[in-house]
Amino acid sequence: MDFLSDHQPDILPGNRQLPPTQGVIEAPHGTTIVATTFPGGVVLAGDRRATMGNVIAQRDIEKVFPADEYSAVGIAGTAGLAVEMVKLFQLELEHFEKVEGAQLSLEGKANRLSTMIRSNLGMAMQGLAVVPIFAGFDVDRGKGRIFSYDVTGGRSEEHGFAATGSGSVFARGAMKKLYSEDLSEGQATTLVVQALYDAADDDSATGGPDVARRIYPLVTVITEDGFRRLTDEESSEIARLILERRLEQPDGPRAALL
């Protein structure tokens, strides 16, 4: 990054001249990302919809990316900028690892992402914000951790679960009722798909499982063994089980009243 800014500053996102604009630029926006920890790792998942105003811009966008072997980023906000930010972030982590011969600590990675979001503040003021969730397995502490961000790059570590994007309010509500500290990996993946279903239920910008087109939420798991993306079969199976239950109980599983 430092090398780039000396050598070829024009390809860094923060250094571009912004065209004078009035109002909000119409660009595809990614919507809901959810994450939850479980003993042994962390799950990060996202729906597949991108919207542009009231139009669905893309039905099968992928918004969760591996940052390196032990971490991943899920992005909500302007899709184009977010994808570029993730690409640069991946590059930085890999570059550091190769040059120094050691991986950055998870805190280090989270801080680095924070700086990158802050450098996008100018764009964010024009309505082109990027608000990711960073999740990873902390090799030193042996557990999964989640970091959430605001548009100014403010970073906060979340304990248990987190959500970002337009449907995050509903997803967080769902997770609050379903989360417990002793989830298995399978339960954690079901939990995030449930939360995404609830988000899609109440937020028009979040896409639910699309059975007709076979488009299902993107679910990734990071454990001691590294990053793994659930195959289409695995995620469709989770979505199918949830759908079947919801045919009987449209609002999903009930939590105890007291």
Partner: protein, 259 residues
């Protein structure tokens, strides 16, 4: 006032080449071999912190003999070149050929510039292909030339003797354990023909493994895994090739001690 002596350009270049060669010869040799699933780097390196081999990009590895600070400089330059290429265009647009060219330019310029001393390094740039036919090996001597190699390469002090030993014995489609064993045998030959033992903890081993599911194919082989592979190589080799000499036993006992 004394006038400077006239030194002919031929003599000047010969002196510089001699200087670089002597510098390289002081370091230990290392070998790079093709095997069925990729390319293996083997060298004797007592240090755990200063690596002779490293990853440049997804499919590209780097090996260097000679002066550490000089090749480390070149290595970081290579990583920067590759990462910048990959970010600006696409990951597939970073090739070993392109990288080897950049190194050749750099080394050549330094070698012929009178203001600088020549770099005392010899590099190997290797790229693992999707199939063994796609593998590429380039050797870059101190003067900035490029040699396109096949099968095996040796660089460093005792390189000529080692590479002739390897050329005779290396064949396509070896397993990793076989290739590793051959490499260790080649490295344990001294200039005067005698053999010595290289214990596993003094070996630095890395592979570019085309079967690795990740995008990045470079992997270091250390600790228990290395010991296991060395054992596998010596037992398999003893059963497979009865003609091989007593060095098998030496390797075997030496590896089991490490456990």
């Amino acid at each position: 006032m004394s006038t400077p002596f006239y030194v002919s350009p031929q003599q000047q270049m010969a002196d510089r080449a001699e200087y670089a060669r002597k510098g390289i010869a002081r370091g230990r040799s290392l070998v790079v071999l093709q095997f069925a699933d990729g390319i293996v780097f083997v060298g004797e390196n007592p240090s755990r912190a200063l690596h002779k081999f490293s990853e440049i990009y997804d499919r590209i590895g780097f090996a260097a003999a000679g002066k550490y600070n000089e090749y480390e400089n070149l290595r970081i330059g290579g990583v920067r070149y590759a990462d910048l290429r990959g970010y600006t265009y696409d990951r597939d647009d970073v090739t070993a050929r392109g990288l080897a060219n950049v190194y050749a330019q750099t080394l050549g310029t330094i070698f012929s510039s009178a203001a600088e001393k020549p770099y005392e390094v010899e590099l190997v740039v290797a790229e693992v292909g999707v199939t063994p036919e796609g593998d590429q090996l380039y050797r870059l001597p101190h003067d900035g030339s490029i040699v396109d190699e096949h099968g095996s390469v040796a660089v460093g002090g005792n390189a000529e003797q080692i590479s002739s030993y390897l050329d005779q014995r290396h064949r396509d489609g070896m397993t990793l354990a076989e290739a590793l064993k051959l490499a260790v045998q080649a490295l344990s030959r001294d200039t005067n023909g005698s053999e010595r033992e290289i214990p596993a903890e003094r070996l630095e081993v890395a592979v570019l493994d085309r079967t690795r599911p990740q995008q990045r194919k470079f992997r270091r082989i250390v600790g228990r895994q290395l010991v296991r592979l060395l054992e596998e190589g010596s037992s398999g080799g003893a059963a497979g090739a009865a003609e091989s000499d007593g060095s098998d036993d030496a390797d075997g006992s030496d590896a089991s001690e490490e456990k």
